[in-house]
């Protein structure tokens, strides 16, 4: 028998418990890499059994590296830099970019689309993925790539609606900003993603 009242309360109880958890910030030794190990502490897991916790185990941030390869300006005046995420474990990945937008002259969020039109890619262990970024018109300011990885592609926002929700959330916590405004790190955006996801940020400058 459906019980919509109790279901509504259950949703709110889970959300309230997640809300009550203070955001934890971790710092790694490397100055350019800020990483946290996912939203594993999010609340649904509290209620689940150890078997479930194992299934939702996050990928450690140290298993993820992202290289930035600068490119020369082409004769046509175009410059495409390449970001190369690489994992030492197989996982699904979603690439979020906070990059220069010529139209608004500000930093904007983008969800990267791969050549086949998908936004989530299955990465093999040790295999680097190429993320071309058009930096032709970007000033020499800090842009960044955020790699969201999960053991299962289903943990990442895959539908159009889910991606729109994600962008709305990202723009809510880190609105489009001018270069001299405060930067936005992964602790800020982590609440926009679900449990089981590890987020690694890699700032880069197209100089």
């Amino acid at each position: 028998m459906p019980d919509p009242v109790l279901e509504r309360l259950l949703r709110a109880a889970v959300e309230a418990e997640a809300f009550a958890r203070p955001i934890r910030r971790l710092r790694l030794a490397s100055w350019w890499l800020l990483a946290t190990s996912g939203a594993a502490a999010l609340l649904a897991l509290v209620f689940m059994n150890p078997r479930s916790v194992t299934r939702y185990r996050t990928i450690p941030a140290k298993a993820i590296s992202i290289e930035h390869v600068s490119s020369p300006v082409s004769q046509a005046g175009q410059r495409i830099d390449v970001l190369q995420p690489c994992l030492d474990t197989a996982a699904a990945a979603l690439v979020l970019l906070r990059v220069w937008d010529r139209d608004c002259s500000c930093l904007q969020w983008q969800v990267h689309e791969f050549e086949d039109g998908s936004t989530i890619t299955e990465m093999a262990r040790g295999e680097a993925v190429q993320i071309p970024v058009d930096v032709s018109h970007a000033p020499p300011i800090e842009q960044s790539v955020l790699l969201a990885v999960a053991r299962r592609a289903s943990d990442l926002p895959s539908t159009v609606d889910a991606r729109e929700d994600l962008l709305a959330c990202l723009n809510g916590v880190c609105p489009p900003s001018l270069p001299d405004e405060a930067s936005c790190g992964n602790p800020d955006v982590l609440p926009c993603l679900g449990e089981g996801i590890t987020l690694v940020q890699r700032p880069f400058v197209a100089d």
Partner: protein, 201 residues
């Protein structure tokens, strides 16, 4: 219906310091839960940053008014749950004013007395306690109840857990019944649950 002291990940004593209006307590609350509040509204407001900021400010103002008027009682619910409940009321109030359709019937919206937010928060914590209570739900019942509440279909759930749809349905029914009984034991009867649940989408 008193709040337990052993809930996880809660800044020790903040609820009491807020209620006592201790110096710096509200600033600490703001720093701890401000980003979460912004994120909560951002998810609901579809990235309208001006609206998000407005709702955040309304929420903090309402929380502060309640605390100033001694309407927040830390023994009934943690301050974080109270802030969450107030935020839900503010959101539903906004939806009603904006004419946005919600699950809330017109005659019973978020404009109830401020203490409703505290009662709603208390109900949420009671439900969290029931979900955690050892021996109340078995693992399968808990997983089915939470997954169903999050909107996962019975078919998907059946495939994921390798159970028949009828079994999923039976587990869900049992879990809901146990949770209702547990809430009733904490003083939340069906009518009160119905009324307080209207604060949440």
């Amino acid at each position: 219906m008193a709040a337990d002291d052993d809930r996880p990940a809660r800044p020790a004593g903040l609820s009491r310091r807020i209620a006592a209006r201790a110096p710096g307590a509200f600033e600490e609350l703001h720093a701890l839960y401000g980003p979460r509040l912004r994120s909560l509204f951002a998810r609901r407001a579809g990235g309208r940053t001006d609206l998000v900021e407005d709702l955040v400010q309304q929420t903090w103002a309402a929380v502060w008014r309640s605390v100033s008027a001694d309407r927040y009682q830390p023994e009934r619910a943690a301050i974080s749950t109270f802030v969450y409940a107030v935020a839900n009321k503010i959101w539903l109030q906004h939806c009603r004013q904006a004419g946005r359709p919600t699950a809330v019937p017109d005659e019973a919206g978020p404009q109830g007395p401020p203490e409703d937010a505290l009662a709603s928060a208390e109900l949420l914590e009671a439900l969290q306690d029931c979900l955690r209570r050892p021996g109340l739900l078995d693992d399968e019942e808990r997983e089915v109840a939470l997954a169903a509440a999050s909107g996962e279909s019975e078919r998907s759930l059946a495939g994921r857990l390798h159970l028949a749809a009828s079994t999923i349905n039976a587990r869900k029914r049992t879990a809901y019944s146990k949770l209702r009984r547990c809430l009733s034991g904490k003083g939340f009867g069906a009518e009160m649950i119905e009324q307080l649940a209207e604060s949440f989408e």
